[in-house]
Symmetry: C5
Subunit: 312 residues, 5 copies
């Protein structure tokens, strides 16, 4: 059951009390002052409140008395500059209430609210069901980010091993940086999820626990994939080094081979450019064409040889 | 005991109930609708059903009440493009039934069925025996894939250290990618296998547990080998870098050495091509042959020296 | 409650005894003799005293009977030479007293004292509250150091991938050294903090424990970030190698390409510089301009070709 | 007490039963048929029997009811091709019997038999004493293999850092491969040894346990050394890359420096080979020797300069 | 209390028995025969005795009944060849006796004896106090070795990043080898120390345990520092590769740039060395100086350009 409209926060809990009803308060980057009424009404712990206002926390799950405080990182892949944009959702749940605080560009909790309102059988599990719905949504949204990274990794692999001569060190490095950052945002979540899935907690129905286990499983898959990307990118960076080195060296070898070919007629011409009085070849009628032919033959045979050695 | 033919799913369990009989239902990439009758008949958990339909799960073992849900990855080595093709088998077992869902190109469960039907003493252990037979088959089929990778690793080693000049970075990298992917598909299986082998579960006979322990052992061997490949390929990639670098440098040195040899007669020829009025050598009768001889001697001695230094 | 002024150490404990009062004694790099009175008054363990005087300890938490002995590392980022300067604070707390010993350039405990005196509700938790205040301050001051390192990492990334040709190996290496050193100073602190946060200890109020948990969390974030820097710097060092290699090779290729272009007219000039009696071109009226034109055409076409190949 | 000669396997156990006597049956690469009588007499588990016949197992220790099944890897260093040759010993021990199955080129168990027969005080501990004697022998024989590898590592280090110009990438890589393979053969043994040393088992006397602890210790030392080799070889491979790179570059620099020296007289000669009508130097009496001297001076000064820079 | 002079080993224990007295027997590389009397008198376990005679053990702590057997590695830094020289001390302690066996060039236990005799309050804790004194001394002596390595690491860093052109791969590698060896000698000691510090043992007074905890702490610091060196040296080896590569490439570029500069006048001279009948420039009065000027201008402008590009 849900009651819309503006509710006086001061009496939120009162109205929720009794029955299965609970209050869901959603805030976006609140200031300390804005948050104060909420803090007082639900008796939230000052340390958790401080975290909720300043954000930039690691994903974590803390228990302050009966209240559960959870920090989640949302991830969104921005294709234009190949960056993972992280947001943050901080959630308090207690007997009869759930408070969500969003920072950055996070998941649209609005959709979650609509979705969960359509499943009254879930809603009756209380705030824990909402917590699950949010976490599930956040982790589901890791999917497209993973896809985006996966595409980029494949692209960068193709580039590195294509015949074109591009040094992809920068792109590889930046992708790796995103992967590492994403890992740091997603991985620490697994441990608190696991705890929610396996330990008893008065706020969490045994039935809902199964759902948290499912989320944990999704998270482990995300972690597996990200660690896979990290390992691949490390290898690609190394492969890139050898690919670029090889291609550049091929250029140098080609240039040097041509210079070597040109050195032979230059040397021969030098010899017949000497000013000795007695150089019989110089007075031969066909001396000049003979030398030109010699030059051509030597150059051609060198050319063929270098071609065969794969140098040209 | 086995009863063939088309059975109405709706009454499958009924028929199985009583005695040691059980139903085995095998599906291939079912849609949600196709799976619905099965789900209802055996009362499968919606989360597990969702996994079974969408596939792309990590290997895992979950307990939903009395039902065991297991996800397996099958692996097949495709020699033509040196790729490990992964499939997926998802298995539900419960009192009196086993449901298998195949995705991708997995193991032919048909053979497993025939094989297990020929061992009535196993069949009497119920669905757990079938579960073991499938898992055993899947892990056994890792063998040829490992063989295929092993051959490729050996081939690539030979190529890297052969005298031919080939940069194998791409092949090494792609092999490593396959190995990492295979590791991700096989490794997480060890932990649930271990659990089946060591913990009590009403569906699993103590006698069958020994067999799961054996599978665990096979899995650990697969893991050992794959990790071995990974480590070797990492080293080969590095060795490849130095091998290629060395060979390319040898080419450059050879070309440069020849250019250096050619530079000497060019210089000498230049000197005797100068137009000074007073250059006594020019008028010597044997000046020209003497200079040619000098050139030959210098070039030859350089050639010998470079040859000895291993530069040519 | 706080009593200022110079107190006779010999009777410090006596005066503190009774009620919630406690003594806070702060020392800066004391000699053994200076520390002796303190040691005797509070009955400190000789091993801990030795550590407190010599400093250069790992961060740790030791229990000597009822007394808690803690070693903390302070960190300060010195931007001018991109160095993390470490200091050390060693703290003894016991029933009715807290002794702090500072070494190096640590946190100004004076501020901590003022801050804590403004929060009488904290002060009533006794020495443990002071311990928390100090630890909290030390860990908070890691923040700017992390910021400093973060800026440097970003700077060095930009330098490595900029088009300018700079080898940043030294800077990257030195940053990495600072990060590793900082990690060694901050990481071992997490474990004793965790212990203070989760285990029972007569000196530490359950209420204060929550605060130590918060510090632990900050520490984990510091560790996450430092490990992130370490991983990034490792990758940047590798990327730097390939970037520098690529740029240098481009220079060499450019120089070689120009030498190759110059080799062609040199060769042609050599040919027409030969002294054969019968070289018909030499007597042509337009032979000279024709050859010059040929040279220009060849050089130009080479130039265009090399330009297109990206060599010039 | 020991009874030689051919014993009917079918009654082996019968004869051993009663008193401390036990049967030791040794087999070398038996077929399934050959092994069948043994299997039946001692009631060995079919899974262990399958392992014993097929070999290629990981080192492990399994309990099948009262029977202990152990897989050991033997290692022998073949100096001629620097390869570790692995063999396999599979051992079953139970009340009153020990069955050993050898595969490949393993330890000569004959010696072990003789040695243990000379120590009746050990023999009275039953099959466990034999198990220890075999394991001890196998681990002792790792010693010479470690020695062989150690010598090779030292040799390869010397080669890499000697002034000679050899690329040792292949040798280093192959040594590393052997070390990794050896590690995989020796390391998994430590865990089952530890178990034999610390846990209770009816077949294993507390007194014998001390001996298994000693073997565990030897194994840890082997592991330490092999991991040390692995780390060293990884570093040597990297050092080799820079050593080879440096030496090759030195060659190129030397060749280029000589070409640069030769370029100067070539240029000067070219200038005085020009055909201008008015070139006063050409008619000077000492023009020619003066130019020759100039060439010599320039070349010499370049030579000295390059020498000083360490380029020649 | 201490009694000097030669004591009959056979009755050593007898004399020590009763009261707090105990016997300390120190041996240096004993043979099996020499050690035999000791073994019999104190009833030492044959496996421990074997270890004590052969040495080359890993650091460890074993319990043989009531007797504690400990293996320690001593480390000494030999500056002349930058090598860590390891020795070994093996210690047996039991009720009323301590036996120390030294191998290699270990700590002068003589000093330890004198020092401990000056602290009768320690001596009354029995052999455990002596054990602590020895271990403490051994670990303290790691300090100078760490210092020596630290200096070398700093030196090698300076060398790698100095402008001089030296390839330090060999020195870095050898330092790393020493660090790895030292780590293997010092690290395994931490675990048995920890055990002595935290577990109950009849021979070890609770009061002495605090002292073992202190040693453990020193050991962890040693380990931290050695692991720090290892990580730094790994990075320095990589940095060295890029530093050396960069410097060598700079040389090549410089040489090539000079060759390119020389190529221009050579080409121009070649052109005016051609023998065409109609080359108007040749007959100009100022043709020769004009060409020389042109050469100079071109060379100078190239020189300036290359200088600006940082190539010369």
């Amino acid at each position: 059951m849900r009651r819309g409209g503006t509710l006086e926060i001061d009496h939120a809990l009162e109205q929720a009390a009794g029955g299965d009803a609970f209050v869901w308060i959603g805030l976006y980057e609140p200031t300390e002052r804005e948050f104060d009424a909420v803090r007082r009404e639900f008796d939230l712990h000052p340390l958790a409140v401080e975290d909720a206002i300043n954000a930039h926390q690691r994903p974590k799950l803390e228990l302050y008395g009966e209240t559960i405080f959870m920090v989640l990182k949302t991830a969104q892949y921005v294709d234009s500059n190949e960056v993972i944009e992280l947001g943050e959702i901080l959630i308090f749940i207690g007997e009869g209430f759930i408070v969500t605080v969003r920072h950055g560009e996070p998941t649209h909790l609005h959709d979650v609210r609509e979705q969960i309102e359509g499943q009254p059988e879930l809603l009756k599990h209380g705030p824990a069901a909402v917590l699950h719905a949010i976490v599930d949504r956040v982790v589901d949204e890791y999917g497209p980010a993973i896809e985006g990274l996966s595409d980029d990794v494949t692209e960068v692999e193709d580039e590195v091993f294509s015949s074109g001569m591009v040094n992809r060190a920068e792109r590889i490095y930046k992708l790796k940086r995103e992967v590492l950052q994403f890992l740091r945002a997603a991985t620490p979540l697994a441990e608190p999820m696991e705890r929610l899935a396996h330990r008893e907690h008065p706020l969490i129905d045994p039935e809902v626990r199964t759902y948290f286990r499912d989320v944990t499983d999704h998270l482990r898959r995300v972690q597996d994939q990200l660690e896979g990307f990290r390992d691949l990118l490390t290898s690609v960076l190394e492969a890139n080094l050898s690919q670029v080195g090889v291609r550049q060296n091929e250029d140098m070898r080609k240039i040097s081979a041509w210079v070597a070919i040109a050195a032979v007629p230059t040397m021969l011409a030098g010899i017949y450019g000497m000013n000795f009085d007695h150089m019989p070849e110089l007075s031969w009628t066909y001396g000049y064409p003979a030398v030109l032919t010699l030059m051509a033959v030597v150059c051609l045979s060198l050319f063929i040889r270098f071609k065969r050695a794969g140098w040209l």
